[in-house]
C-alpha cells in the first residue's frame, strides 16, 4: 500500500517540476547555512566554514538529480525529453526525413494492405453466429479414383439417414442449386435459387430480416411452395416493399408464397466457395424448400446434394468427423454394392470459404515482406550515414558523462519516430489501396468485400512500424555511438571517418537488398511466364466469336421429353437462321462454365474385374452442331445428326482422353460404352473429339462422353447452355438471340449471357491478379534496391574523394575512375545476385505449385533476372560515377 501511495505521488510529481526544484534549492541552501553556522561556532573562518559545509554535503547537483529522480518517474521524463529532442533533430533535416518516411510508408503501407486482405480472407471471424461450429461434410471419392474433385455430393437416401441418425449435429441441412423463371410481375427474369431443406437456415444461424424461414412441414413434397427472398432481389425487383410477406410470386409457372427476406449480404452459397464438383450460381437470390421425398431408393437417382451442419455447442470438429465415419460405415453395411463411397471429410466453414486462396495469399504476403525488408534496409543505410555525421556530437556527450545506453535510447527514439510517421502515412496508403482492391480485385477472392481497416489491421500496422523502427534503428544506433574518442575529437581528424565495421555493415545491407530483390523478381518473372503459357494453352475449343447463354425451362410447362426437345430444336433452327450466326448448338454446360455430371461406366467388351475400380468418365449432352459452334475439332468419326433420336441407335461421342484410356491401341469407333446403371443403354461410339479444358486452363482433361440430348439421358434437360458462333462481334448477336428465343417462348428468359472469351478470361483472374501483384512488388523492390545502391555508391565515392584526387593527380584517366566506381557497385551487386541465386534455387520447390509450363529453376529466367539486376545496379552507379569522373583533383586533394 505504501509503495502504491508513493508511486501515485511520483506520477503527481511529474508536474510542478520547477516549483519542486526551487524548493529543493532553498532547502539545500538552508542546510548549508545551518552547517556554516555550526562551523563558525566551532571556530572556523567564514571561508573555511563554507568550504567544509559544501564538502560535507557532497555533490549538490548529484543530490538534486537523485531527488528529482525520486520525485517523478525518470523513465517517463527522459522519454519525453528524447522525443522532444528527436523532433528537433528531424526538423533540421527535412530532406532526409522525407525520403526515409516515404520509403517506410511504401513498405509499411504495402504490407498492411496485403495483411488486410489476409485478415479478411483467413483471419476474420465469419459473419455467422458461432461460425466455428458450422461444418460441411463432403463425400469423398473412393481411394484410387481420380475424378478431378475431392469433395462430392451426397444422395437423398444418405442425407436422410445422416440427419436421422446423427447425434453430434444440432442442425443438418441439404441444398442444391436450381434456377427459377419469375413471371407475372414485369419482365420475365431468370433467378438463381437454392433448394434447401428445413435444417439449412438453423445450421447457418442467420435470422431473416423480415418474416421467417421454412419449417419442417413446409419442407415436404407437395407443400413446398414457399420462398425466402434475398435482400438484393427484394430491393431491386420489389422495391423493398415491407408488405412483400405473404405475397404470391409466379416461379416456373407455379405460385409461391413469400415467407421472409434475408438480411443484406447473405447470399450463401457463393459458387466460388463451394467445391468444383457442384454447380452453383455466383450468388443466391432466393431459397425454396428442398422437399425431399422420404420414399425408397430409386435406381440411378443422382447424388447432387451439398450438406451443411451445425455441431452442437462444445462438440469439436474431430468429433463430428468421427461420427460421420461411423455413420458412413453403417451406410456401407446397408449398401454393400456401393463400397467405398461413404467416406466423408468434414470441413470447417472458415476453411471452406477461404478455398484455394490461402496459399497464393501467403505467397503475396511473403513478397510484400521482402519489400518491407528492403525498405528498412534502405532507411538503415540512410541512418548509418547520418549518424556518422553526428559522431562528434555523440563522442563529446559521452566524454561529458552521458550514459551510452541513454544515447542509444535516444537514437532509437528518433528511429521509432521516423517509423511512426512512416506508419501513419503508410496507413493512409493502405486505406487507399483497400479502396482500389475492392474495386479492381478479382471476384474470386472470397470475402474481398469485407476487407477493411479494422483493429487487427491497425494493430498489424503499428506492430510493423515498431518492428521496422527497431530493425533499421538498432544497428546504426550502436554503430554511431561506438567510441573512438581521440580520433573523433581531433580537429584535423577525418570528417567523414568511419570504422571498417560500419562500411561492412552498409555493404552487407546493400548486398542483402539485392539478394532479396532478386528472389522477388524471379518469382514475378516465373508467374508471368506461367500466365503467358496458360494463355497459349490449347483449350480444346476456339473461344473467339462465341456467345453463350443459359436457358432454363420451367418444369410445369415442359413436362415431357418431346416438348423439351421440340423447343430446343425449333430454337436452334431459328438461331441458325440469324444472319450474324455461323453455327449454333446446345450442351449441358459450356467449357469454363461449370462442372458436368460424371458416371461410372459399363464397357461390355471389357467388364471391370474389380467392382471398386470401375472406369469413370464425365457425362454430358450435346446437340448436332455443338462441336462446330464451340470449335472443338472432331478427330475421327462423325458428329451427331438430326437423325440421332430417341428411336434410333444410341450413340455417343467420346473425347481423346477417354479413347486412350479405355481403348488403348484399339479403335474405339464402333465399340460400346454406357453408364453403369442398366436403366440407360450402352451406346455405340461414333466419333472422337479433342479434349477440352472445362474448369481451368491448367487441368488434365479427364475422360468425357457426350450423348445426343434427344436420346435417353438422366441429367435434366431443363437447363441447357446455348452456344452461338457468330460472324461478327458476339455481343451484338445477343439482342437478336433474345428476340429469337422470345419468338419461340415469350416467357423464357436468357441468363448468364457471356462470350466464351470472357469465361476463359474469368478462369484466369487469380493467376492474373497474383502476377500483377508480384510484378508490382518486384518493380518496387527493384526501385528501392537501386535507390539503395545509388546511396551507398555515392556515399562511398564521396568518401574516397581524396583518394580519387590523388589518383588523378598521379595521372589516372577519368575512364579508370569511372571503372573503379562501377566496379565497386558491380561487385556488390554480383555478390547480392549470387546470394539471391542460391536462395532462389533453395526455395524453388515452394513456388512449384503455382507454376505451369516453367520450372522454378528455369535457367533462362535466372540468367535474365541476373542480367536485369546487374544492369539496374550499374545504372544506379552511373550518376556517382560521372560525378567522380568530373572531380577536379585540386579541389579533391583539399577535401577533408
Amino acid at each position: 500500500m505504501r509503495s502504491l501511495r508513493a508511486f501515485l505521488l511520483r506520477i503527481a510529481g511529474l508536474f510542478g517540476g520547477r516549483r519542486h526544484d526551487r524548493e529543493l534549492t532553498e532547502e539545500f541552501e538552508s542546510h548549508l547555512e545551518l552547517h556554516i553556522e555550526d562551523n563558525l561556532r566551532d571556530g572556523m573562518s567564514p571561508v573555511e566554514a563554507r568550504r567544509q559545509a559544501v564538502l560535507k554535503f557532497g555533490g549538490m547537483e548529484a543530490a538534486k538529480a537523485s531527488c528529482r529522480d525520486r520525485r517523478g518517474l525518470p523513465f517517463l521524463e527522459t522519454l519525453t525529453q528524447d522525443i522532444r529532442f528527436a523532433l528537433r533533430i528531424l526538423r533540421k533535416n527535412p530532406g532526409f526525413v522525407a525520403i526515409a518516411v516515404l520509403t517506410l510508408a511504401l513498405g509499411i503501407g504495402a504490407s498492411t494492405a496485403v495483411f488486410s486482405l489476409v485478415n479478411a480472407v483467413l483471419l476474420k471471424p465469419l459473419p455467422y453466429p458461432n461460425s466455428g461450429q458450422i461444418v460441411f461434410p463432403w463425400r469423398q471419392a473412393p481411394p484410387g479414383l481420380n475424378l478431378g474433385y475431392n469433395d462430392l455430393p451426397w444422395g437423398r437416401i444418405e442425407f436422410l439417414f445422416l440427419s436421422r441418425e446423427s447425434q453430434t449435429f444440432e442442425a443438418l441441412g441439404a441444398f442444391k442449386s436450381d434456377s427459377f423463371n419469375l413471371t407475372g410481375s414485369g419482365d420475365p427474369a431468370r433467378l438463381d435459387g437454392l433448394r434447401a431443406s428445413a435444417g439449412f437456415f438453423p445450421a447457418l444461424g442467420v435470422s431473416p430480416l423480415l418474416g421467417r424461414t421454412f419449417t419442417a412441414d413446409e419442407d415436404q413434397p407437395g407443400h413446398e411452395h414457399s420462398v425466402v427472398l434475398g435482400y438484393q432481389l427484394w430491393r431491386d425487383r420489389f422495391g423493398g416493399d415491407p408488405a412483400i410477406l405473404g405475397r404470391s410470386l409466379e416461379l416456373n409457372g407455379d405460385a409461391y408464397t413469400v415467407l421472409g427476406v434475408m438480411p443484406a449480404g447473405f447470399v450463401f452459397p457463393r459458387a466460388q466457395e463451394m467445391p468444383g464438383s457442384f454447380t452453383f450460381a455466383r450468388e443466391v437470390q432466393l431459397w425454396i424448400p428442398l422437399a425431399l421425398s422420404r420414399g425408397a431408393l430409386i435406381p440411378a437417382e443422382p447424388s447432387e446434394l451439398a450438406v451443411v451442419g451445425r455441431l452442437k455447442a462444445g462438440i469439436a470438429v474431430a468429433q463430428g468427423q468421427a461420427e460421420m465415419d461411423v455413420l458412413g460405415q453403417r451406410l456401407q453395411a446397408q449398401f454393400p454394392q456401393a463400397k467405398g463411397w461413404f467416406t466423408s471429410r468434414v470441413t470447417p466453414m472458415a476453411r471452406q470459404l477461404a478455398g484455394e486462396t490461402r496459399r497464393p495469399l501467403l505467397l503475396i504476403l511473403g513478397a510484400v515482406g521482402i519489400v518491407l525488408l528492403i525498405a528498412c534496409s534502405n532507411v538503415a543505410s540512410l541512418l548509418l550515414t547520418r549518424s556518422l555525421g553526428r559522431k562528434r556530437e555523440f563522442t563529446l556527450r559521452a566524454a561529458l558523462g552521458a550514459d551510452k545506453r541513454r544515447l542509444i535510447r535516444q537514437l532509437l527514439t528518433e528511429s521509432l519516430l521516423l517509423a511512426s510517421f512512416g506508419g501513419l502515412l503508410g496507413t493512409l496508403l493502405t486505406a487507399a489501396a483497400i479502396h482500389f482492391m475492392k474495386i479492381l480485385g478479382p471476384a474470386s477472392i472470397p470475402r474481398l468485400s469485407e476487407t477493411t481497416l479494422d483493429f487487427r489491421v491497425l494493430g498489424f500496422a503499428l506492430g510493423v512500424s515498431l518492428f521496422s523502427g527497431v530493425c533499421f534503428g538498432l544497428a546504426p544506433a550502436i554503430a554511431g555511438t561506438r567510441e573512438n574518442l581521440i580520433e573523433s575529437l581531433k580537429e584535423g581528424g577525418p570528417r567523414s571517418g568511419e570504422s571498417q565495421a560500419t562500411t561492412k555493415l552498409r555493404n552487407a545491407l546493400l548486398v542483402s537488398e539485392v539478394a532479396l530483390a532478386f528472389v522477388l523478381v524471379i518469382a514475378a518473372g516465373l508467374l508471368a511466364q506461367t500466365f503467358f503459357h496458360l494463355l497459349s494453352v490449347d483449350p480444346g475449343f476456339h473461344p473467339a466469336h462465341v456467345l453463350t447463354f443459359e436457358l432454363s425451362l420451367p418444369a410445369s410447362k415442359y413436362t415431357n421429353q418431346d416438348q423439351i426437345v421440340g423447343l430446343y430444336q425449333s430454337a436452334l433452327q431459328k438461331l441458325r437462321a440469324l444472319p450474324g450466326v455461323e453455327s449454333a448448338g446446345i450442351t449441358e454446360t459450356v467449357p469454363m462454365g461449370g462442372a458436368t455430371e460424371s458416371t461410372a461406366l459399363r464397357i461390355p467388351a471389357h467388364p471391370a474385374a474389380d467392382p471398386n475400380d470401375r472406369p469413370y468418365s464425365n457425362y454430358t449432352m450435346a446437340s448436332p452442331g455443338y462441336f462446330v459452334a464451340v470449335g472443338t475439332p472432331l478427330l475421327r468419326g462423325r458428329d451427331f445428326l438430326e437423325s440421332d433420336t430417341a428411336d434410333s441407335m444410341p450413340v455417343t461421342i467420346i473425347n481423346s482422353a477417354m479413347a486412350k484410356k479405355y481403348w488403348p491401341g484399339e479403335d474405339p469407333i464402333g465399340k460400346q460404352v454406357g453408364p453403369l446403371s442398366r436403366l440407360y443403354p450402352v451406346a455405340t461410339v461414333i466419333g472422337i473429339v479433342a479434349d477440352t479444358k472445362r474448369l481451368s486452363l491448367r487441368e488434365e482433361p479427364p475422360p468425357e462422353m457426350y450423348v445426343p440430348y434427344t436420346q435417353k439421358v438422366w441429367p435434366s434437360l431443363l437447363t441447357m447452355d446455348v452456344v452461338l458462333r457468330t460472324k461478327v462481334d458476339p455481343v451484338s448477336a445477343a439482342a437478336a438471340a433474345r428476340e429469337t428465343i422470345h419468338s419461340v417462348d415469350p416467357d423464357l428468359p436468357l441468363a448468364n449471357i457471356a462470350t466464351l472469351e470472357t469465361l476463359v478470361d474469368g478462369s484466369m483472374t487469380q493467376q492474373r491478379f497474383a502476377m500483377f501483384v508480384l510484378g508490382a512488388f518486384g518493380a518496387l523492390a527493384l526501385l528501392l534496391a537501386s535507390i539503395g545502391m545509388y546511396g551507398v555508391i555515392s556515399y562511398s565515392t564521396m568518401q574516397r574523394t581524396q583518394e580519387i584526387g590523388i589518383r588523378m593527380a598521379l595521372g589516372a584517366q577519368r575512364r579508370s575512375v569511372v571503372a573503379m566506381v562501377l566496379g565497386h557497385g558491380g561487385r556488390l551487386a554480383s555478390l547480392g545476385i549470387a546470394i539471391g541465386l542460391i536462395a532462389a534455387l533453395a526455395m524453388g520447390h515452394t513456388m512449384a505449385s503455382f507454376l505451369y509450363g516453367v520450372r522454378p529453376t528455369d535457367p533462362l529466367t535466372l540468367a535474365a533476372v541476373s542480367l536485369l539486376l546487374l544492369t539496374v545496379a550499374l545504372v544506379a552507379c552511373y550518376v556517382p560515377a560521372r560525378r567522380a569522373m568530373r572531380t577536379d583533383p585540386v579541389i579533391a586533394l583539399r577535401y577533408e
Binding site: 501511495r5 532553498e26 538552508s30 542546510h31 557532497g58 543530490a63 537523485s66 525520486r70
Partner: protein
C-alpha cells in the same frame, strides 16, 4: 552485490531517520544527518546530501510530513516530523531488526557449532 548493498543501506538509512525523529521530534535535514553521524559514533561518514532522496521517499510513503519553519536562529528551514504511521513503522522495524540480530547472534555466539 553492490546493488543489494545499496538497497540495504537505503533501508537502514530510512530506519535511522525515523528513529532520529522519534527521539528528537521535528527536525530539519541538516539536523537529522548530523544526528545520525553522531549516533553512529562518527563511524558512518556519508555525505549529508544523500539524506534528501531518502527523506523524499519516506514522505511519499507517508511516514513523515514536512513543513517550513524557523530554526532557533530564526533561519528558514524545512522541518520533518513523524506521522502516526511513521511512529508505528519505526516501532515495527526496530522489533524486526532486534529479532534479526538475535537470530544471527545465536549463530555467531561461541556456544553454537565448532572450532575457533
Amino acid at each position: 552485490m553492490a546493488r543489494s548493498k545499496n538497497d540495504v543501506w537505503q533501508g537502514t538509512l530510512a530506519l535511522m531517520i525515523l528513529k532520529t525523529l522519534e527521539a528528537l521530534g521535528p527536525l530539519h535535514g541538516y539536523g537529522i544527518a548530523r544526528r545520525i553521524e553522531q549516533t553512529s559514533g562518527n563511524r558512518l561518514a556519508v555525505n549529508y546530501g544523500t539524506i534528501y532522496p531518502a527523506l523524499i521517499k519516506l514522505e511519499q510513503e507517508g511516514y513523515i510530513a514536512s513543513e517550513w519553519g524557523q530554526s532557533n536562529n530564526n533561519r528558514r528551514a524545512k522541518y520533518y516530523k513523524l506521522t502516526r504511521a511513521g511512529t508505528k513503522q519505526v516501532q515495527k522495524e526496530a522489533r524486526d531488526w532486534e529479532q534479526a540480530t538475535a537470530i544471527v547472534a545465536r549463530f555467531l555466539s561461541p556456544e553454537s557449532g565448532s572450532s575457533s
